[in-house]
């Protein structure tokens, strides 16, 4: 086996086809997109070289600032909530429900398989004020409150988006982290219990460190997914009211395809890529330190 894999030609034959497909499908579009960031124009008018102008625009554009702020706020809050809730659910499955958790897991996982647009329509109707009052506003009315135009105000709309995406994704993170927790050896926990460890100490000093690899994966999945959120926001608020719930992805999409400014859109995309990379590296680094400390 070593002889086979030691032969460079064999490696080339084995890896070559996959590498070619990867280059054509992934690398080439990425490189082309990066190239566009140095140009101005679109498919109709053609492209002209503008050097770093698009990157300078990024710093002066108030829409980029507001989209970046929204993206970071959304990404961080939702990551904390969905991984936190997911971890709580996983602990519930493993230590409380144990063998009887299958039905609960299935029910909580169910929203993950629903189409985003259907979920967005559901939440639109739930929080509707006009033409008909939705259940949430009707409930507020029963409590004696006045109805709220949830989608007419950026602050309210933000929390509806967070709530919807949390409902959609908590089940997924619950199952992902559950898979990590079931690998924690039962004998170790049992012996710790016999030594008199409290539940808090058990979770803090044994379960969290032992499930750190899967927790780390969940955090990286989550932050990358939330920083690149697109479909759920388009379907629920389309970035509104105004541009108050517009993430960088939607602003990039509008810039490139609605405003016909491919170059500037590509530079926004590049900025988003760098952002995702920075967050991923940051999580890796800080997690590595944590593991060592633990």
């Amino acid at each position: 086996m070593e002889r086979v894999l030691g032969d460079k030609k064999t490696i080339l034959v084995l890896l070559g086809p996959a590498l070619i497909v990867y280059t054509v499908v992934m690398l080439a579009p990425v490189v082309i997109s990066m190239g566009y960031a140095f140009f101005d124009g679109n498919a109709i008018t053609g492209f002209t070289w503008t050097g770093t102008d698009n990157f300078q625009r990024l710093f002066d554009d108030p829409d980029v600032r507001s989209s970046l702020w929204f993206t970071l706020k959304y990404g961080l809050i939702l990551t904390v909530l969905q991984v936190g809730l997911g971890y709580g659910l996983a602990l519930l499955y493993v230590f409380v429900l144990q063998r009887g958790s299958a039905l609960v897991r299935t029910l909580i996982f169910f929203p993950v398989v629903l189409p985003t647009v259907a979920v967005a329509l559901l939440f639109q109707k739930l929080f509707e004020i006009a033409p008909q009052e939705g259940p949430v506003n009707a409930f507020l009315g029963v409590l004696g409150g006045s109805p709220i135009d949830f989608f007419g105000d950026g602050g309210h709309a933000f929390w509806v988006v967070i709530l919807m995406d949390l409902w959609r994704s908590a089940g997924f993170y619950g199952v992902l982290l559950y898979a990590g927790l079931v690998d924690v050896p039962e004998e170790m926990l049992e012996s710790a219990r016999l030594e008199g460890a409290s539940t808090y100490r058990l979770v803090r000093h044994m379960i969290i460190p032992l499930s750190m690899p899967v927790l780390l994966s969940a955090l990286i999945f989550s932050i990358n997914g939330t920083l690149k959120v697109f479909d759920s926001i388009v379907a629920l608020t389309n970035g509104g009211p105004g541009n108050e719930t517009t993430p960088l992805t939607l602003y990039m999409f509008q810039t490139s395809f609605s405003y016909g400014d491919y170059g500037y859109g590509a530079s926004i995309a590049l900025m988003l890529t760098v952002l995702c990379l920075l967050f991923t590296v940051f999580i890796f680094r800080s997690a590595r330190r944590d593991v060592t400390e633990a």
Partner: protein, 445 residues
Amino acid sequence: MKISSIGGRRRAAMKWTGVGTAALLVLTACGGSGGDSDGDGSASGGGNPSEFSFLVNAENTTIPDELTTLSEDQCKAANDDLPLKVETVPQTQLDQKLQLLAGQDALPVSFAAGNTPALTATLDEDGQLLDFEKTFDDLGVLDKISPAAISTIKSLYGGKFNVLPYQYNIEGFWYNKQIFADNGLDIPATWDDLVAAAEKLDGAGVQPLSASGEQGWPLTRLISGYIFRELGPDALQKVADGDAKLTDPDYVSGAQAVADLGAKGYFGDGVGSIDYDTAINTFLSGDAGILYMGSWVLGSFADDSLNKIGNDNIGFFPFPDVEGGAGSSTQTPSNVGLPMTFSAHQYNDKVGAWLKCIAENYGQASLEDQNSISGFVPATQPDLDPLTQLVQDQVENTKESVLWFEALFGSKATTVSQTNAAPLVSGSTSAEDFMSKVQDALDSE
């Protein structure tokens, strides 16, 4: 590690960097070549179409239906040579589709030419659009197009006649006669009268105005209406030319006037969530007193399943004067709907036969079948229902027309304007902020 091995790796790395850079340049150049069309129509997809392909926004069912009817009757011969094939795309995705198709020189024979006149102008600069003035002249049917429609098109598209007036719309306020009579209201002659009427309706528990904040444009057209009446018909042309700014106090007062209507709740609850159909239904079910809309709404008025108040109960008044303003209510907002055009590259004699048939028959057919007034002159004047006749008279009596708020804006300013209209009337954006956002978008275009 040996020194030679490091050197070898460095050489290899340099080689791969070089290959990568070359690939980047080649790929980028390839990506850009789509836009370098020289307009000779020699690329694939151009020149000799096998069908009369028509790409239209899915929301528009009027034109495809009418063309289908023509293809089975008056235009049967043209259709036998070049069969009509309708393809639809949601209006929000139209611009992207056009950009991609135009970049590959693969536009269909006929298509909706974009959501903003700016995109239509870009397509024209790229040589993609047919010059109808010359083509209709060559076909001997230029007299089948109403001069007023040609004039509106030219004022929208930089002096060029390169879209078809399948619709010729005027805009104004439609009101519920019964509600006005019950509340002792007269037709408002000034903006102040309109506000007073709204106040009275609101006091009587009737929603004064119905508008779609989800679409945004029904609200921004109130702003432009006010600005045209206050500052004169060239007010927005001055903004487009850079001679005035939307942030000037005179312009902000237009946005403020509309924001004030919203602040008093005259558009009802949750205006930002109200879509186009709901806005129309609210008026047609008698729940609102006034609706600002274009004459394309006659199609909905004619639909008995929608119209619960009856056509006889609907009246029309033009956008009223603003006291002391430079404009007048005789200047009618008008447009030709979402522009439909023909590809210059796909044009040949068979397409010409279709175009000639459309010019000769569309005006009559759309009046008879859809109660829809187009810029094509009907061969004979059919009996019209009173509302259609009213619009027809208004079109004929219009001496001067004005455009709409975003008519001379690019895509970005149009989107910014329309998406911020609902926050303006719901009070979460001030009139100054609204105008400054739109002006910033205009400046960045």
